[in-house]
Amino acid sequence: MTHQPLVLGIETSCDETGIGIVRGETLLADAIASSVDEHARFGGVVPEVASRAHLEAMIPTLERACTTAGVRLSDVDAVSVTAGPGLAGALMVGVAAAKSLAVALGVPIYGVNHLAAHVAVDIVEHGPLPEPTMALLVSGGHSSLLLVPDVTADIASLGSTIDDAAGEAFDKVARVLGLPFPGGPHIDRMASQGEVTIDFPRGLTQGRDLERHRFDFSFSGLKTAVNRWVELRQRSGEEVPVADVAASFQEAVVDVLTKKAVAACRAQGVEHLQIGGGVAANSRLRALAQERCDAAGIELRVPRPGLCTDNGAMVAALGAQMVLRGRTPSDLSIPADSSMPVTEVLA
Protein backbone atom coordinates (compact mmCIF):
# COMPACT_ATOMS: atom_id res chain seq x y z
CA MET A 1 0.00 0.00 0.00
CA THR A 2 1.37 3.39 -0.95
CA HIS A 3 -0.39 5.40 1.73
CA GLN A 4 -0.86 3.97 5.18
CA PRO A 5 -3.62 5.82 7.07
CA LEU A 6 -2.50 8.11 9.89
CA VAL A 7 -4.98 7.58 12.72
CA LEU A 8 -5.23 9.42 16.03
CA GLY A 9 -6.92 7.57 18.90
CA ILE A 10 -8.42 9.05 22.08
CA GLU A 11 -9.05 7.05 25.25
CA THR A 12 -10.82 8.55 28.30
CA SER A 13 -12.92 5.68 29.68
CA CYS A 14 -11.51 5.81 33.21
CA ASP A 15 -8.72 7.91 34.75
CA GLU A 16 -6.11 7.98 31.97
CA THR A 17 -6.24 10.51 29.17
CA GLY A 18 -4.57 8.61 26.34
CA ILE A 19 -3.74 9.87 22.85
CA GLY A 20 -2.16 7.42 20.43
CA ILE A 21 -1.02 7.93 16.86
CA VAL A 22 -0.66 5.00 14.48
CA ARG A 23 0.32 4.89 10.82
CA GLY A 24 -1.20 1.72 9.40
CA GLU A 25 0.12 -0.92 11.78
CA THR A 26 3.02 1.13 13.12
CA LEU A 27 2.82 2.93 16.47
CA LEU A 28 4.18 6.48 16.28
CA ALA A 29 3.11 7.91 19.66
CA ASP A 30 1.36 6.87 22.85
CA ALA A 31 0.95 9.91 25.12
CA ILE A 32 -0.78 9.48 28.45
CA ALA A 33 -1.83 11.67 31.38
CA SER A 34 -3.13 9.99 34.50
CA SER A 35 -5.23 11.45 37.29
CA VAL A 36 -4.40 8.47 39.55
CA ASP A 37 -2.78 10.65 42.24
CA GLU A 38 -5.91 12.78 42.52
CA HIS A 39 -8.03 9.69 43.19
CA ALA A 40 -5.73 8.00 45.70
CA ARG A 41 -6.80 10.24 48.57
CA PHE A 42 -10.46 9.33 47.91
CA GLY A 43 -9.66 5.61 47.95
CA GLY A 44 -11.02 4.98 44.46
CA VAL A 45 -11.78 6.60 41.12
CA VAL A 46 -14.07 9.62 41.59
CA PRO A 47 -15.83 10.05 38.23
CA GLU A 48 -16.12 13.85 38.47
CA VAL A 49 -12.43 14.19 39.34
CA ALA A 50 -11.53 11.98 36.37
CA SER A 51 -13.77 13.99 34.01
CA ARG A 52 -12.29 17.32 35.10
CA ALA A 53 -8.79 15.95 34.65
CA HIS A 54 -9.60 14.70 31.12
CA LEU A 55 -10.74 18.19 30.10
CA GLU A 56 -7.52 19.78 31.36
CA ALA A 57 -5.23 17.06 29.98
CA MET A 58 -6.74 16.86 26.49
CA ILE A 59 -4.82 19.60 24.65
CA PRO A 60 -1.43 19.07 26.36
CA THR A 61 -1.66 15.31 25.70
CA LEU A 62 -2.64 15.92 22.07
CA GLU A 63 0.36 18.19 21.66
CA ARG A 64 2.70 15.65 23.23
CA ALA A 65 1.43 12.86 20.98
CA CYS A 66 1.88 14.95 17.83
CA THR A 67 5.38 16.04 18.86
CA THR A 68 6.45 12.48 19.61
CA ALA A 69 5.01 11.19 16.35
CA GLY A 70 6.49 14.10 14.39
CA VAL A 71 3.16 14.81 12.70
CA ARG A 72 0.77 17.74 12.52
CA LEU A 73 -2.91 17.34 13.26
CA SER A 74 -3.61 18.37 9.68
CA ASP A 75 -1.83 15.18 8.53
CA VAL A 76 -4.33 12.96 10.37
CA ASP A 77 -6.54 10.82 8.08
CA ALA A 78 -9.05 9.59 10.69
CA VAL A 79 -9.85 9.93 14.38
CA SER A 80 -10.92 7.08 16.61
CA VAL A 81 -12.19 7.25 20.16
CA THR A 82 -13.38 4.97 22.93
CA ALA A 83 -17.18 5.26 22.72
CA GLY A 84 -17.61 2.82 25.64
CA PRO A 85 -17.79 1.03 27.96
CA GLY A 86 -16.50 3.18 30.83
CA LEU A 87 -17.42 6.11 33.06
CA ALA A 88 -20.10 8.14 31.27
CA GLY A 89 -18.80 11.62 32.08
CA ALA A 90 -15.21 10.65 31.35
CA LEU A 91 -16.11 9.04 28.02
CA MET A 92 -18.01 12.16 26.98
CA VAL A 93 -14.91 14.34 27.17
CA GLY A 94 -13.02 12.06 24.80
CA VAL A 95 -15.96 11.57 22.44
CA ALA A 96 -16.57 15.34 22.22
CA ALA A 97 -12.88 16.03 21.61
CA ALA A 98 -12.72 13.37 18.89
CA LYS A 99 -15.80 14.72 17.13
CA SER A 100 -14.38 18.23 17.31
CA LEU A 101 -11.14 17.06 15.69
CA ALA A 102 -13.07 15.17 13.03
CA VAL A 103 -15.11 18.26 12.10
CA ALA A 104 -12.18 20.69 12.26
CA LEU A 105 -9.91 18.43 10.19
CA GLY A 106 -12.65 17.15 7.87
CA VAL A 107 -11.84 13.49 8.56
CA PRO A 108 -13.98 10.46 9.53
CA ILE A 109 -14.50 9.38 13.14
CA TYR A 110 -14.65 5.81 14.47
CA GLY A 111 -16.28 5.35 17.88
CA VAL A 112 -14.84 2.03 19.03
CA ASN A 113 -15.30 -0.44 21.86
CA HIS A 114 -12.69 -0.21 24.62
CA LEU A 115 -12.38 -3.99 24.99
CA ALA A 116 -11.89 -4.50 21.26
CA ALA A 117 -9.17 -1.85 21.38
CA HIS A 118 -7.38 -3.83 24.14
CA VAL A 119 -7.25 -6.72 21.66
CA ALA A 120 -6.29 -4.64 18.60
CA VAL A 121 -3.28 -3.04 20.29
CA ASP A 122 -1.24 -6.19 19.78
CA ILE A 123 -1.25 -5.50 16.04
CA VAL A 124 1.22 -2.63 16.54
CA GLU A 125 3.35 -4.90 18.74
CA HIS A 126 3.27 -8.31 17.05
CA GLY A 127 1.68 -7.73 13.65
CA PRO A 128 -1.68 -8.77 12.18
CA LEU A 129 -4.04 -10.60 14.53
CA PRO A 130 -4.57 -14.26 13.75
CA GLU A 131 -8.24 -14.90 13.00
CA PRO A 132 -9.83 -16.10 15.10
CA THR A 133 -8.00 -15.08 18.29
CA MET A 134 -9.00 -15.84 21.85
CA ALA A 135 -8.48 -12.85 24.15
CA LEU A 136 -8.17 -12.88 27.92
CA LEU A 137 -8.54 -9.32 29.23
CA VAL A 138 -7.63 -8.94 32.88
CA SER A 139 -7.35 -5.66 34.76
CA GLY A 140 -8.94 -3.82 37.66
CA GLY A 141 -11.92 -3.09 35.42
CA HIS A 142 -12.17 -6.18 33.20
CA SER A 143 -11.99 -9.97 33.44
CA SER A 144 -13.23 -11.19 30.08
CA LEU A 145 -12.71 -14.12 27.82
CA LEU A 146 -13.47 -13.07 24.25
CA LEU A 147 -13.67 -14.97 21.01
CA VAL A 148 -12.45 -12.61 18.29
CA PRO A 149 -13.07 -13.75 14.71
CA ASP A 150 -12.55 -10.16 13.41
CA VAL A 151 -11.55 -7.36 15.77
CA THR A 152 -13.14 -4.73 13.51
CA ALA A 153 -16.54 -6.39 13.27
CA ASP A 154 -17.16 -9.52 15.26
CA ILE A 155 -16.44 -10.33 18.93
CA ALA A 156 -18.27 -12.74 21.21
CA SER A 157 -18.05 -12.79 24.99
CA LEU A 158 -17.50 -16.33 26.27
CA GLY A 159 -17.20 -15.40 29.92
CA SER A 160 -16.48 -12.68 32.44
CA THR A 161 -16.20 -12.16 36.15
CA ILE A 162 -19.37 -12.57 38.17
CA ASP A 163 -18.01 -10.44 41.04
CA ASP A 164 -14.59 -8.77 41.40
CA ALA A 165 -12.28 -8.08 38.49
CA ALA A 166 -8.93 -9.90 38.69
CA GLY A 167 -7.01 -6.67 39.25
CA GLU A 168 -9.31 -5.69 42.10
CA ALA A 169 -8.50 -8.96 43.85
CA PHE A 170 -4.78 -8.14 43.62
CA ASP A 171 -5.33 -4.68 45.11
CA LYS A 172 -7.52 -5.95 47.94
CA VAL A 173 -5.23 -8.82 48.89
CA ALA A 174 -2.23 -6.47 48.78
CA ARG A 175 -3.96 -4.29 51.32
CA VAL A 176 -4.63 -7.29 53.59
CA LEU A 177 -0.95 -8.19 53.39
CA GLY A 178 0.13 -4.62 54.12
CA LEU A 179 1.70 -4.21 50.69
CA PRO A 180 1.71 -0.80 49.01
CA PHE A 181 -0.62 0.28 46.27
CA PRO A 182 -0.97 -0.67 43.43
CA GLY A 183 -1.17 -4.29 44.50
CA GLY A 184 -0.32 -6.12 41.28
CA PRO A 185 3.42 -5.48 40.97
CA HIS A 186 4.00 -5.77 44.75
CA ILE A 187 2.26 -9.14 44.99
CA ASP A 188 4.19 -10.30 41.94
CA ARG A 189 7.54 -9.29 43.51
CA MET A 190 6.67 -10.69 46.94
CA ALA A 191 5.40 -13.95 45.43
CA SER A 192 8.71 -14.51 43.65
CA GLN A 193 10.35 -14.76 47.12
CA GLY A 194 7.80 -17.23 48.47
CA GLU A 195 6.42 -20.72 47.88
CA VAL A 196 2.94 -21.87 46.98
CA THR A 197 2.15 -23.50 50.32
CA ILE A 198 -1.55 -22.76 50.77
CA ASP A 199 -4.29 -24.25 48.63
CA PHE A 200 -6.64 -21.29 48.19
CA PRO A 201 -10.00 -21.88 46.44
CA ARG A 202 -10.33 -21.68 42.65
CA GLY A 203 -13.68 -20.01 41.91
CA LEU A 204 -16.14 -21.58 39.43
CA THR A 205 -13.95 -24.60 38.64
CA GLN A 206 -15.96 -27.40 40.22
CA GLY A 207 -19.12 -29.37 39.44
CA ARG A 208 -22.31 -27.34 39.06
CA ASP A 209 -20.42 -24.02 39.11
CA LEU A 210 -18.24 -25.15 36.24
CA GLU A 211 -21.25 -26.33 34.26
CA ARG A 212 -23.12 -23.09 34.66
CA HIS A 213 -20.11 -20.75 34.46
CA ARG A 214 -17.76 -22.67 32.20
CA PHE A 215 -15.73 -19.61 31.14
CA ASP A 216 -16.77 -17.14 33.84
CA PHE A 217 -14.55 -16.05 36.74
CA SER A 218 -15.09 -15.33 40.42
CA PHE A 219 -12.43 -13.82 42.69
CA SER A 220 -14.54 -12.68 45.60
CA GLY A 221 -14.39 -16.03 47.43
CA LEU A 222 -10.63 -16.22 46.97
CA LYS A 223 -10.16 -12.74 48.39
CA THR A 224 -12.30 -13.67 51.42
CA ALA A 225 -10.36 -16.91 51.92
CA VAL A 226 -7.03 -15.06 51.96
CA ASN A 227 -8.48 -12.54 54.37
CA ARG A 228 -9.68 -15.25 56.73
CA TRP A 229 -6.43 -17.19 56.55
CA VAL A 230 -4.39 -14.10 57.45
CA GLU A 231 -6.79 -13.16 60.26
CA LEU A 232 -6.58 -16.65 61.81
CA ARG A 233 -2.81 -16.49 61.76
CA GLN A 234 -2.75 -13.06 63.34
CA ARG A 235 -5.25 -14.08 66.01
CA SER A 236 -3.15 -17.07 67.01
CA GLY A 237 -0.20 -14.72 67.39
CA GLU A 238 1.77 -16.34 64.59
CA GLU A 239 3.69 -14.41 62.01
CA VAL A 240 2.03 -14.15 58.56
CA PRO A 241 4.29 -15.60 55.86
CA VAL A 242 3.54 -12.75 53.47
CA ALA A 243 5.61 -14.06 50.56
CA ASP A 244 3.99 -17.50 50.74
CA VAL A 245 0.48 -16.06 51.01
CA ALA A 246 1.18 -13.78 48.03
CA ALA A 247 2.54 -16.69 46.00
CA SER A 248 -0.39 -18.92 46.90
CA PHE A 249 -2.97 -16.26 46.15
CA GLN A 250 -1.33 -15.35 42.85
CA GLU A 251 -1.15 -19.00 41.88
CA ALA A 252 -4.87 -19.43 42.51
CA VAL A 253 -5.71 -16.47 40.29
CA VAL A 254 -3.45 -17.30 37.38
CA ASP A 255 -4.27 -21.00 37.58
CA VAL A 256 -7.96 -20.29 36.95
CA LEU A 257 -7.31 -17.60 34.33
CA THR A 258 -4.94 -19.72 32.24
CA LYS A 259 -6.87 -22.97 32.66
CA LYS A 260 -10.12 -21.40 31.47
CA ALA A 261 -8.43 -19.49 28.65
CA VAL A 262 -6.77 -22.62 27.30
CA ALA A 263 -10.00 -24.61 27.73
CA ALA A 264 -11.86 -21.93 25.77
CA CYS A 265 -9.30 -22.14 22.96
CA ARG A 266 -9.72 -25.92 22.83
CA ALA A 267 -13.52 -25.77 22.97
CA GLN A 268 -13.61 -23.28 20.09
CA GLY A 269 -10.75 -24.76 18.09
CA VAL A 270 -8.77 -21.52 18.40
CA GLU A 271 -4.97 -21.72 18.11
CA HIS A 272 -4.02 -18.22 19.28
CA LEU A 273 -4.41 -16.68 22.72
CA GLN A 274 -3.79 -13.04 23.53
CA ILE A 275 -3.63 -11.65 27.05
CA GLY A 276 -4.25 -7.95 27.73
CA GLY A 277 -5.12 -5.57 30.55
CA GLY A 278 -2.99 -4.43 33.48
CA VAL A 279 -2.78 -7.90 35.07
CA ALA A 280 -1.07 -9.16 31.90
CA ALA A 281 2.09 -7.62 33.38
CA ASN A 282 2.09 -10.35 36.07
CA SER A 283 5.15 -12.55 35.58
CA ARG A 284 3.53 -15.74 36.88
CA LEU A 285 0.50 -15.23 34.60
CA ARG A 286 2.82 -14.90 31.62
CA ALA A 287 4.89 -17.94 32.62
CA LEU A 288 1.98 -20.26 33.34
CA ALA A 289 0.09 -19.13 30.25
CA GLN A 290 3.19 -19.85 28.16
CA GLU A 291 3.61 -23.28 29.74
CA ARG A 292 -0.01 -24.27 29.19
CA CYS A 293 -0.22 -22.82 25.70
CA ASP A 294 2.95 -24.68 24.70
CA ALA A 295 1.50 -27.92 26.04
CA ALA A 296 -1.75 -27.34 24.15
CA GLY A 297 -0.11 -26.19 20.92
CA ILE A 298 -1.51 -22.69 21.22
CA GLU A 299 0.41 -19.57 20.20
CA LEU A 300 0.49 -17.00 23.03
CA ARG A 301 0.70 -13.26 22.37
CA VAL A 302 1.09 -10.66 25.12
CA PRO A 303 1.76 -6.98 24.31
CA ARG A 304 4.35 -5.20 26.44
CA PRO A 305 2.97 -3.96 29.78
CA GLY A 306 2.67 -0.30 28.66
CA LEU A 307 0.29 -1.37 25.91
CA CYS A 308 -1.72 -3.71 28.17
CA THR A 309 -3.00 -0.94 30.46
CA ASP A 310 -5.47 1.68 29.15
CA ASN A 311 -3.86 3.89 26.50
CA GLY A 312 -4.55 5.83 23.31
CA ALA A 313 -2.42 3.58 21.13
CA MET A 314 -4.94 0.76 21.38
CA VAL A 315 -7.74 3.04 20.20
CA ALA A 316 -5.62 4.33 17.32
CA ALA A 317 -4.60 0.77 16.42
CA LEU A 318 -8.22 -0.34 16.19
CA GLY A 319 -9.20 2.82 14.30
CA ALA A 320 -6.47 2.13 11.74
CA GLN A 321 -7.83 -1.38 11.25
CA MET A 322 -11.28 0.10 10.67
CA VAL A 323 -9.82 2.31 7.93
CA LEU A 324 -7.75 -0.49 6.40
CA ARG A 325 -10.75 -2.81 6.30
CA GLY A 326 -13.02 -0.16 4.85
CA ARG A 327 -15.48 -0.09 7.72
CA THR A 328 -18.16 2.62 7.57
CA PRO A 329 -17.20 5.46 9.94
CA SER A 330 -19.43 6.37 12.89
CA ASP A 331 -21.98 9.13 12.69
CA LEU A 332 -21.11 12.49 14.29
CA SER A 333 -24.16 12.04 16.52
CA ILE A 334 -22.92 8.91 18.36
CA PRO A 335 -23.30 9.03 22.14
CA ALA A 336 -20.79 7.98 24.77
CA ASP A 337 -22.14 4.58 25.79
CA SER A 338 -21.06 3.68 29.32
CA SER A 339 -22.38 0.12 29.00
CA MET A 340 -21.47 -0.56 25.36
CA PRO A 341 -21.57 -4.35 24.85
CA VAL A 342 -18.44 -5.99 23.50
CA THR A 343 -20.47 -7.39 20.62
CA GLU A 344 -20.75 -3.78 19.39
CA VAL A 345 -17.21 -3.17 18.15
CA LEU A 346 -17.99 0.06 16.29
CA ALA A 347 -20.65 2.60 17.24
Partner: protein
Protein backbone atom coordinates in the same frame (compact mmCIF):
# COMPACT_ATOMS: atom_id res chain seq x y z
CA UNK B 1 -13.50 37.96 11.51
CA UNK B 2 -15.35 34.64 11.29
CA UNK B 3 -16.11 33.54 14.83
CA UNK B 4 -17.70 30.19 15.73
CA UNK B 5 -19.55 30.46 19.06
CA UNK B 6 -20.93 27.59 21.12
CA UNK B 7 -22.45 26.99 24.55
CA UNK B 8 -23.58 23.87 26.42
CA UNK B 9 -24.04 25.30 29.90
CA UNK B 10 -27.86 25.24 29.83
CA UNK B 11 -30.46 22.90 28.34
CA UNK B 12 -29.60 24.29 24.90
CA UNK B 13 -26.87 23.02 22.65
CA UNK B 14 -26.30 26.19 20.67
CA UNK B 15 -23.90 27.31 17.92
CA UNK B 16 -23.54 30.50 15.88
CA UNK B 17 -21.23 32.22 13.44
CA UNK B 18 -20.45 35.92 13.75
CA UNK B 19 -18.51 37.98 11.17
CA UNK B 20 -17.44 40.73 13.55
CA UNK B 21 -20.47 42.85 12.74
CA UNK B 22 -23.52 40.58 12.79
CA UNK B 23 -24.55 37.02 13.52
CA UNK B 24 -24.50 35.15 10.19
CA UNK B 25 -26.23 32.00 11.37
CA UNK B 26 -27.42 30.37 14.55
CA UNK B 27 -28.78 26.96 15.49
CA UNK B 28 -29.92 25.47 18.80
CA UNK B 29 -31.34 22.21 20.07
CA UNK B 30 -32.95 21.91 23.48
CA UNK B 31 -31.93 18.56 24.97
CA UNK B 32 -30.45 18.75 28.48
CA UNK B 33 -29.24 15.13 28.42
CA UNK B 34 -27.58 14.87 25.02
CA UNK B 35 -24.98 17.61 24.56
CA UNK B 36 -22.41 15.15 23.19
CA UNK B 37 -24.79 13.89 20.53
CA UNK B 38 -25.93 17.26 19.17
CA UNK B 39 -22.97 19.64 19.28
CA UNK B 40 -20.71 18.34 16.48
CA UNK B 41 -23.56 17.84 13.97
CA UNK B 42 -24.77 21.38 14.74
CA UNK B 43 -21.31 22.77 13.99
CA UNK B 44 -21.20 21.06 10.58
CA UNK B 45 -24.72 22.34 9.85
CA UNK B 46 -23.97 25.92 10.79
CA UNK B 47 -20.76 25.95 8.76
CA UNK B 48 -22.55 24.81 5.63
CA UNK B 49 -25.40 27.24 6.31
CA UNK B 50 -22.89 30.09 6.46
CA UNK B 51 -21.07 28.72 3.42
CA UNK B 52 -17.83 28.32 5.34
CA UNK B 53 -15.21 25.62 5.70
CA UNK B 54 -13.58 25.08 9.12
CA UNK B 55 -10.40 26.62 7.74
CA UNK B 56 -12.24 29.91 7.06
CA UNK B 57 -12.80 30.48 10.79
CA UNK B 58 -10.63 33.01 12.60
CA UNK B 59 -11.88 32.64 16.20
CA UNK B 60 -13.82 30.34 18.50
CA UNK B 61 -15.87 31.46 21.50
CA UNK B 62 -17.32 29.24 24.19
CA UNK B 63 -19.46 29.57 27.28
CA UNK B 64 -17.38 28.63 30.34
CA UNK B 65 -20.44 28.28 32.56
CA UNK B 66 -21.46 28.08 35.24
CA UNK B 67 -23.57 25.08 34.26
CA UNK B 68 -24.12 21.38 34.98
CA UNK B 69 -20.64 19.84 34.69
CA UNK B 70 -21.07 17.08 32.17
CA UNK B 71 -22.80 19.23 29.57
CA UNK B 72 -20.52 22.19 30.22
CA UNK B 73 -17.40 20.13 29.54
CA UNK B 74 -18.72 19.01 26.16
CA UNK B 75 -18.71 22.60 24.91
CA UNK B 76 -15.38 23.43 26.52
CA UNK B 77 -13.47 20.43 25.21
CA UNK B 78 -15.06 20.84 21.79
CA UNK B 79 -14.12 24.53 21.55
CA UNK B 80 -10.60 24.06 22.88
CA UNK B 81 -9.92 21.12 20.57
CA UNK B 82 -11.46 22.82 17.55
CA UNK B 83 -9.37 25.96 18.02
CA UNK B 84 -6.26 23.89 18.68
CA UNK B 85 -6.74 21.87 15.50
CA UNK B 86 -7.15 25.03 13.40
CA UNK B 87 -4.52 26.98 15.35
CA UNK B 88 -6.87 29.91 16.01
CA UNK B 89 -7.67 31.69 19.30
CA UNK B 90 -10.53 30.58 21.56
CA UNK B 91 -12.28 33.06 23.84
CA UNK B 92 -14.19 32.23 27.02
CA UNK B 93 -17.45 33.96 27.85
CA UNK B 94 -19.29 33.67 31.17
CA UNK B 95 -22.46 31.94 29.98
CA UNK B 96 -24.71 34.00 32.24
CA UNK B 97 -23.39 37.15 30.51
CA UNK B 98 -24.84 35.90 27.22
CA UNK B 99 -28.27 35.49 28.83
CA UNK B 100 -28.11 39.00 30.34
CA UNK B 101 -26.99 40.45 27.02
CA UNK B 102 -29.84 38.81 25.12
CA UNK B 103 -32.41 39.96 27.72
CA UNK B 104 -31.15 43.53 27.45
CA UNK B 105 -32.02 43.54 23.74
CA UNK B 106 -35.26 41.56 23.90
CA UNK B 107 -36.60 43.49 26.89
CA UNK B 108 -35.36 46.87 25.61
CA UNK B 109 -33.65 47.66 28.88
CA UNK B 110 -32.12 51.09 29.38
CA UNK B 111 -29.09 52.40 31.20
CA UNK B 112 -29.59 52.05 34.93
CA UNK B 113 -31.94 49.08 34.65
CA UNK B 114 -30.91 45.98 36.57
CA UNK B 115 -31.63 42.29 36.09
CA UNK B 116 -30.73 38.93 37.59
CA UNK B 117 -29.77 35.82 35.64
CA UNK B 118 -30.76 32.52 37.26
CA UNK B 119 -30.10 29.17 35.56
CA UNK B 120 -30.78 25.60 36.68
CA UNK B 121 -27.87 24.20 38.71
CA UNK B 122 -29.79 20.95 39.42
CA UNK B 123 -29.98 19.57 43.00
CA UNK B 124 -32.57 22.28 43.70
CA UNK B 125 -30.00 25.04 43.32
CA UNK B 126 -29.52 27.91 40.86
CA UNK B 127 -26.55 29.69 39.33
CA UNK B 128 -27.11 33.43 39.77
CA UNK B 129 -25.49 36.75 38.95
CA UNK B 130 -26.77 40.32 39.05
CA UNK B 131 -26.38 42.77 36.17
CA UNK B 132 -26.85 46.48 35.46
CA UNK B 133 -27.20 48.09 32.06
CA UNK B 134 -24.59 50.80 31.48
CA UNK B 135 -23.70 52.54 28.21
CA UNK B 136 -25.90 50.16 26.27
CA UNK B 137 -24.17 47.02 27.57
CA UNK B 138 -24.74 44.65 30.46
CA UNK B 139 -22.30 44.86 33.32
CA UNK B 140 -22.02 41.95 35.76
CA UNK B 141 -22.01 43.39 39.27
CA UNK B 142 -21.77 40.14 41.28
CA UNK B 143 -19.60 37.07 40.72
CA UNK B 144 -21.58 34.04 39.47
CA UNK B 145 -22.63 31.92 42.45
CA UNK B 146 -24.45 28.67 43.12
CA UNK B 147 -27.13 28.80 45.79
CA UNK B 148 -30.49 27.52 46.97
CA UNK B 149 -33.32 29.77 45.74
CA UNK B 150 -34.26 30.39 49.37
CA UNK B 151 -30.80 31.88 49.97
CA UNK B 152 -30.93 34.32 47.05
CA UNK B 153 -30.53 37.87 48.48
CA UNK B 154 -33.70 39.99 48.76
CA UNK B 155 -32.16 42.65 46.52
CA UNK B 156 -31.99 40.15 43.62
CA UNK B 157 -35.57 38.98 43.93
CA UNK B 158 -37.30 42.18 42.92
CA UNK B 159 -35.33 42.35 39.66
CA UNK B 160 -36.49 41.05 36.29
CA UNK B 161 -35.15 37.47 36.17
CA UNK B 162 -33.68 35.78 33.10
CA UNK B 163 -33.13 32.04 32.60
CA UNK B 164 -34.69 28.70 33.48
CA UNK B 165 -34.15 29.27 37.21
CA UNK B 166 -36.93 31.84 37.12
CA UNK B 167 -39.33 29.27 35.67
CA UNK B 168 -38.36 26.63 38.24
CA UNK B 169 -38.54 28.95 41.26
CA UNK B 170 -41.23 31.60 40.63
CA UNK B 171 -41.53 32.33 44.39
CA UNK B 172 -37.92 33.51 44.38
CA UNK B 173 -38.04 35.17 40.96
CA UNK B 174 -41.59 36.50 40.41
CA UNK B 175 -40.71 38.71 37.42
CA UNK B 176 -39.56 36.39 34.67
CA UNK B 177 -38.32 38.01 31.44
CA UNK B 178 -36.17 37.16 28.42
CA UNK B 179 -34.68 33.87 27.24
CA UNK B 180 -34.62 30.56 29.14
CA UNK B 181 -31.40 29.16 27.74
CA UNK B 182 -28.19 30.57 26.30
CA UNK B 183 -28.18 31.38 22.60
CA UNK B 184 -24.82 31.22 20.83
CA UNK B 185 -25.70 34.31 18.80
CA UNK B 186 -25.86 36.39 21.97
CA UNK B 187 -22.74 34.70 23.28
CA UNK B 188 -20.95 35.56 20.01
CA UNK B 189 -21.94 39.22 20.41
CA UNK B 190 -20.52 39.28 23.94
CA UNK B 191 -17.34 37.58 22.69
CA UNK B 192 -16.88 40.06 19.84
CA UNK B 193 -17.32 42.96 22.26
CA UNK B 194 -14.79 41.40 24.64
CA UNK B 195 -12.25 40.90 21.86
CA UNK B 196 -12.75 44.53 20.73
CA UNK B 197 -12.22 45.70 24.32
CA UNK B 198 -9.21 43.45 24.80
CA UNK B 199 -10.90 41.50 27.60
CA UNK B 200 -10.04 37.80 28.04
CA UNK B 201 -12.14 35.80 30.50
CA UNK B 202 -10.02 32.64 30.23
CA UNK B 203 -11.12 29.08 29.52
CA UNK B 204 -11.44 27.59 32.99
CA UNK B 205 -14.77 25.87 33.57
CA UNK B 206 -16.85 27.71 36.16
CA UNK B 207 -17.84 24.64 38.18
CA UNK B 208 -18.48 26.57 41.43
CA UNK B 209 -18.78 23.22 43.22
CA UNK B 210 -16.22 20.65 44.32
CA UNK B 211 -16.53 17.11 42.97
CA UNK B 212 -18.53 14.72 45.12
CA UNK B 213 -15.88 12.51 46.66
CA UNK B 214 -17.83 9.30 46.29
CA UNK B 215 -15.64 6.77 44.53
CA UNK B 216 -17.15 5.00 41.54
CA UNK B 217 -18.02 1.32 41.57
CA UNK B 218 -15.65 1.07 38.63
CA UNK B 219 -12.10 0.63 39.78
CA UNK B 220 -9.01 -0.58 38.07
CA UNK B 221 -5.68 -2.06 38.91
CA UNK B 222 -3.87 1.25 38.62
CA UNK B 223 -6.04 2.91 41.24
CA UNK B 224 -7.07 1.92 44.72
CA UNK B 225 -10.25 -0.06 44.95
CA UNK B 226 -12.93 1.56 47.08
CA UNK B 227 -12.09 1.07 50.74
CA UNK B 228 -14.36 -1.41 52.43
CA UNK B 229 -16.39 -1.88 49.25
CA UNK B 230 -18.81 -4.77 49.65
CA UNK B 231 -20.12 -6.87 46.83
Amino acid sequence: MKLLAMDTSTSAITVAIHDGTVVLAERSVIDARAHTEHLAPLITQILSEAGLAPGDLTDVAVGVGPGPFTGLRVGLVTARTFAHALDIPVHGVVSLDALAHEAMSSERLDDGDELVVATDARRKEVYVARYAVASGAVLRITEPAVTYPADVPETFRALPAVGRGAVLYPETFPTRVGPLDVSAGALAEVAVAQVAAGVEVGLDALYLRRPDATPSAVSKSTVMAPRGAKR
